[in-house]
Amino acid sequence: MNHLPLIIQREYLNKVRNKSFIVMTILSPIIMIILVAFVAYLSQLNNNKERTIVVLDESGFLEDAFQSTDNTTYKFIDDLSLDEAKRDTEANGDYGLLYIEDVDDFNELGEHIKFFSTDSPSLMLMSDLENNIQKELSEMKLIEEGIDIDKIKESKLRVNIAQESFVGEKTSKIDSIAKLFFGCAAGYLLFMFIIIYGNMIMRSVIEEKTNRIIEVIISSVKPTQLMLGKIIGTSLAGITQFLIWLILGGVLVSIVSAIFGVDVLQTQPVDQEAMRQAMENTNSPEFQSIVIAINNLPIGNLVVAFLLFFLGGYLLYSSLYAAIGAAVDSETDTQQFLLPILMPLILAVYIGVFTVIEDPHGTVSTIFSFIPLTSPVVMLMRIPFGVPIWQQLLSFGLLVATFLFAVWFASKIYRVGILMYGKKPSYKELIKWIRY
């Protein structure tokens, strides 16, 4: 008799109707977005802070080096001594005093500049100042050597290397960024999904044990069926939650950005300019190249591979989580068994982020995209960069084989474990259970 649909239905409804699940579903995106908006708002505040820097240039070489901007005002003084200037600056509450000593040769000037301030100055500001001075001095040096600066400026040519594969696919840097984004998003999504819902499955198995209902249930259904029902039911609840988050997130982003006046999505400075231009003028080359980049992605392959690897990886891990739940009596006992599961998962994400970005087809990332416990995450990150079909098939084949093994293993542990109470089992005992 097939009770799987019934079990799935109960698990799903039980999860979805659970109060903490509902609260989490609604509150998480709200909290997340408020947090992000708050941080964005704060960093904007910080950037907008105006500061005045007093410049005492006794040498007279650097009068043109500093241009006041919106945030930073340079105030030049020349009739005060250093001590007076320091006193005045502090008294006026200005940010700091830049003191340039009087030297005859500007070649030596670089070593004779000091900055005084109440608190130690920000790194950004100091490198700004250094850059400005360096630029000015370099130009002066060039003039001294008799070189025409305008010619140098003219000689700076813009370079944009056009990338093309041997089969004629055109790619670009934005292309790579898009690939990276899709790869990382997919890998990270899987990682989060496994952690959140794997744990949920584990807890629900433990709950059945602590409630002592397990024996009643498995006198009606096969343990393997119960386990699969749990995994599928919880996953469906997870997908529901994710969809709600997606919709709610979208709605909230637009509301919050309206309220705070912050574009939450554009806190990253990298593409901000390109994005804004793209918004203003859809014909701009940047926007076109983004569209091309997205079009260039192997969308069909990406979608299919995403579904398969996501499913395979998730099911593999969740059966292991279920086995852990069956092996222990309470959540506090799970630590020793969770570690070996979490290690490959975290390893996969690190490898994904560091080596795949560096070289998506390098040895390390290729190998780890075959090892079953890491392959779902790493492979998902690699696929946007184009992975030969045979590699994908091999990796998926290995994943499915491991998944089947894991289900077999987990159901063995499950069968025995759910009826064991009291003692926390050791690994040795778990191996013994398999032979029961």
Partner: protein, 310 residues
């Protein structure tokens, strides 16, 4: 006699530990079968094998003339010793779920649940969560769920633990009623007084082996010790006791009467009948109490376990 359930030389090992060693039992149709034994004897393992929760290493189980198969799950109602319900689920919903796992349709399950909830007067609980109920109340729900699908075979593992005397009686009556309606009941317990009241047949399992089985009355007959409790009023108790002691084996009696008489346990020799003793006694005084001492299930249990050296 027709047997509903038979196990043939069922063995089960867990690693090096033998939980069951070639245990064969026969449960007659329509009987209440007591499965007795000290803690850790292997009762629960045997019950789990019957429920197909664990598989036996060797031996086979026959239910209603057929080797045990998957579909037999619906023919069995099992109340485990380790029992519980989903705490955060509502009573009605949970009962429906468990009933449907046993193969009942939605409508059937609902109808029977109404009937049973009315019968046990727990109708108002339908929308309550289990965590709002007391332990005894939850047990009642559990009992209903166990018997709901009208199984041929009912297995109760320590059914009365957690019940107060009133509810224990209620459940006992229900078990007897189910038996009258044709169900066969296997009943595992340490509580011997309930064995006396309920069981027709018993099997005693000790240290993974079956050491005793059969109809309860027959077992009692083999265990009877030919001892009679005697209460008698005579002119001279001391003389009478001495006279009796010369003829029979005597021991101190432990029963209560209203008067002040001589109380003795008299053990008959193999060639004497109860009538002989009674005739002799009536000639010596006024007999107020004369009862054959039948071994209680408790005595049999203790004695059988003591006699077995495994």
């Amino acid at each position: 006699m027709d047997n509903l359930l038979e196990t043939h030389a069922v063995s089960k090992k867990f690693g090096n530990f033998t939980a069951l060693n070639e245990v064969s039992i026969s449960v007659p149709k329509g009987s209440v079968f007591g499965l007795l034994g000290p803690n850790g004897a292997g009762k629960t393992t045997l019950i789990r094998i019957i429920n197909q929760i664990t598989m036996p290493d060797t031996g086979k189980v026959i239910l209603d003339g057929e080797p045990l198969k998957n579909h037999h799950i619906q023919d069995i109602g099992y109340l485990p010793e380790e029992r519980g319900l989903y705490k955060s689920m509502k009573v009605g919903e949970q009962a429906m779920y468990l009933a449907r796992l046993k193969g009942l349709s939605k409508a059937e399950a609902k109808e029977r649940l109404q009937y049973w909830f009315d019968r046990l007067e727990i109708h108002g609980w339908w929308n309550k969560k289990i965590q709002e109920l007391s332990k005894g109340m939850a047990q009642k729900v559990q009992f209903v769920v166990t018997v709901l699908h009208n199984p041929k075979l009912l297995i109760f593992d320590e059914p009365f633990s957690g019940f107060d005397p009133i509810n224990a009686n209620l459940i006992k009556d229900e078990i007897l009623r189910l038996k009258e309606n044709g169900s066969t009941v296997i009943f595992s317990t340490h509580r011997m007084e309930s064995v006396e009241e309920l069981c027709d047949h018993i099997a005693l399992i000790h240290k993974s082996n079956k050491i005793l089985d059969g109809p309860l009355t027959e077992i009692k007959r083999t265990f009877k010790s030919n001892i009679y409790e005697v209460g008698i009023k005579s002119q001279n108790d001391v003389v009478l006791e001495q006279e009796l002691a010369s003829k029979f084996e005597l021991s101190k009696a432990n029963f209560k009467t209203l008067g002040e008489e001589l109380k003795l346990n008299v053990k008959l020799n193999a060639d004497e009948s109860a009538n002989d003793l009674l005739r002799y006694l009536t000639s010596r005084g006024e007999v107020s109490h004369f009862v054959e001492l039948i071994p209680s299930a408790n005595d049999i249990f203790i004695q059988a376990v003591k006699n077995t050296k495994i």
